[in-house]
């Protein structure tokens, strides 16, 4: 799958998601993606599995299994959540190169993104607080349903039920 993206600033770029079913070289990082409640001013490789050692606590909140880990002396409590059906997480790497054709007028630069890794779940960590369904990240998943409702083509029977409120139960 290839996506073309033209932003309002006039910048163009491509994102190569490697094809959902193709045998791409993307590494599977499922179970290894962590979202920490801090800003780490570093970008690059690090021996995460040697230092960051999540453990199961046996506690369950909102049906979420609570894990515990420590980072820089802080106690973190987190939970691993699967990404919704039909969605995947991607780790993208940037490739920037100058355009060769003189006819390109938008600064001469284009950006392309390549999939370096994919993942199907993410572990969300809170500092001090237990994870909960009310955490912003989990609530962000609400958007998937809203987006679907907003962008789904309207069918004849949708019109029917909309003009007859109460005829069909919706939630």
């Amino acid at each position: 799958m290839k996506g073309e993206n033209a932003s309002s600033a006039g910048e163009t770029g491509t994102i190569d998601l490697g094809g959902v079913n193709s045998s791409s070289s993307a590494v599977d990082l499922t179970d290894q993606i962590h979202q920490l409640p801090s800003c780490i001013k570093y970008s690059g490789p690090s021996p995460v599995s040697h230092y960051f050692r999540p453990k199961s606590t046996g506690i369950e909140v909102d049906g979420l299994n609570v894990k515990e880990a420590h980072f820089r002396g802080r106690k973190l409590q987190g939970t691993t959540v699967p990404l919704p059906d039909g969605y995947s997480g991607f780790v993208l790497g940037k490739k920037t190169f100058a355009k060769r054709k003189a006819s390109d007028t938008n600064g001469g630069m284009t950006t392309s993104w390549r999939t370096n890794a994919k993942f199907q779940n993410i572990t969300l960590w809170n500092h001090d607080n237990l994870p909960s369904k009310e955490d912003a990240f989990l609530r962000a998943f609400h958007w998937f349903d809203v987006a679907k409702a907003l962008h789904k083509p309207v069918m004849a029977d949708d019109m029917e039920s909309a003009s007859n409120p109460g005829a069909t139960a919706t939630d």
């Binding site: 600033a9 770029g13 801090s38 599995s49 040697h50 230092y51 002396g73 802080r74 609530r139 962000a140």
Partner: protein, 295 residues
């Protein structure tokens, strides 16, 4: 952990207890609270057992005394081992708990443990580094039936506290010797030294085990000021919890001092991490969603 295997027949006679700590100052390893208790009538004998402030004794002598007090049927003991991860976590929480509070909770926990075992504690001698009067009042409020004697250097004044200091110190030393690293980084070694910040072995251990992203293995108490110099040039990590310090002048000052060294974090404007959300629909704001036109 302690001598709770079976209740001694003297449990219901008036008992005296001493409480002391080991490993409060060190930058690494657990802090241990230890207590020793015995019948009030046994106190005279206790003073002949050569218990002295554990710091003045050689390691072998401490081990020997610990073994002999364990074998003494008129003596009971218990310890509370506070993991360095717990110390760091509590002191770096959003609502920070200071070391004195952690210490007081631990000491009170020991009193409660021994009372719950069924021992009739009437007098408890406690060593402290903080204000003895305030601490005594706090203890008395919690346990009104017990007479508390709180003193600085109680470990060299009262044999029952000297005994407690031996229990605590031996337990701390063993816990450090037997420490199992959670981390699996290469080239880790166990030449910790005493753990005191001034100890050359401790200094070189810290130097050998620092990591620019992760800081240190979790044996280290990250909340100790000693850690900061090791992080000059380390990766800066910002935490929301450090923002709250703005309200508290004293802490804020300390935090900004630490942040100059690029370690503990620093006060920062929230814009550094996320946008203000101005003009965004509430649905997106509350879910921290933002439309990106380019990235």
């Amino acid at each position: 952990m302690g001598s709770e295997c079976e209740i001694r027949e003297w449990a219901s006679t008036p008992c005296v207890m001493g409480i002391d700590e080991a490993g409060r100052g060190p930058v690494l390893g657990p802090m241990v609270y230890g207590c020793l208790y015995c019948p009030v009538s046994y106190m005279k004998t206790l003073s002949t057992l050569e218990f002295a402030d554990s710091k003045t004794l050689k390691e072998e002598k401490r081990e020997e005394l610990f073994e002999s007090l364990k074998g003494d049927e008129k003596i009971g003991w218990a310890v509370d081992v506070i993991d360095p991860r717990e110390l760091s976590a509590k002191m770096l929480r959003k609502n920070k708990i200071n070391l004195n509070e952690i210490s007081h909770q631990s000491a009170m926990g020991l009193v409660k443990t021994v009372l719950d075992l069924g021992y009739l504690l009437t007098e408890v001698y406690v060593d402290t580094v903080g204000d003895p009067d305030k601490y005594r009042i706090k203890l008395t409020e919690r346990f009104p039936s017990i007479k508390f004697v709180v003193a600085k250097k109680a470990d060299s004044l009262y044999p029952v506290v000297s005994g407690a200091s031996i229990v605590a110190k031996v337990t701390r030393d063993r816990a450090l010797q037997n420490w199992e690293f959670d981390e699996t980084a290469e080239n880790m070694h166990r030449n910790f030294g005493s753990g005191y910040p001034g100890d050359p072995n401790t200094k070189s251990w810290l130097e050998d085990h620092k990591h620019s992203v992760f800081g240190f293995p979790s044996l280290v108490r990250f909340s100790w000021g000693t850690c900061e110099p090791y992080f000059k040039g380390g990766v800066q990590v910002l935490w929301e919890a450090d923002e709250a310090d703005d309200d508290d002048r004293k802490t804020a000052k300390r935090q900004s001092k630490l942040s100059n060294l690029g370690f503990t974090g620093m006060k920062r404007k929230s814009e550094d991490i996320e946008s203000s959300g101005k003009g965004r629909c509430k649905f997106f704001q509350s879910r921290k969603l933002e439309q990106l036109s380019h990235f």
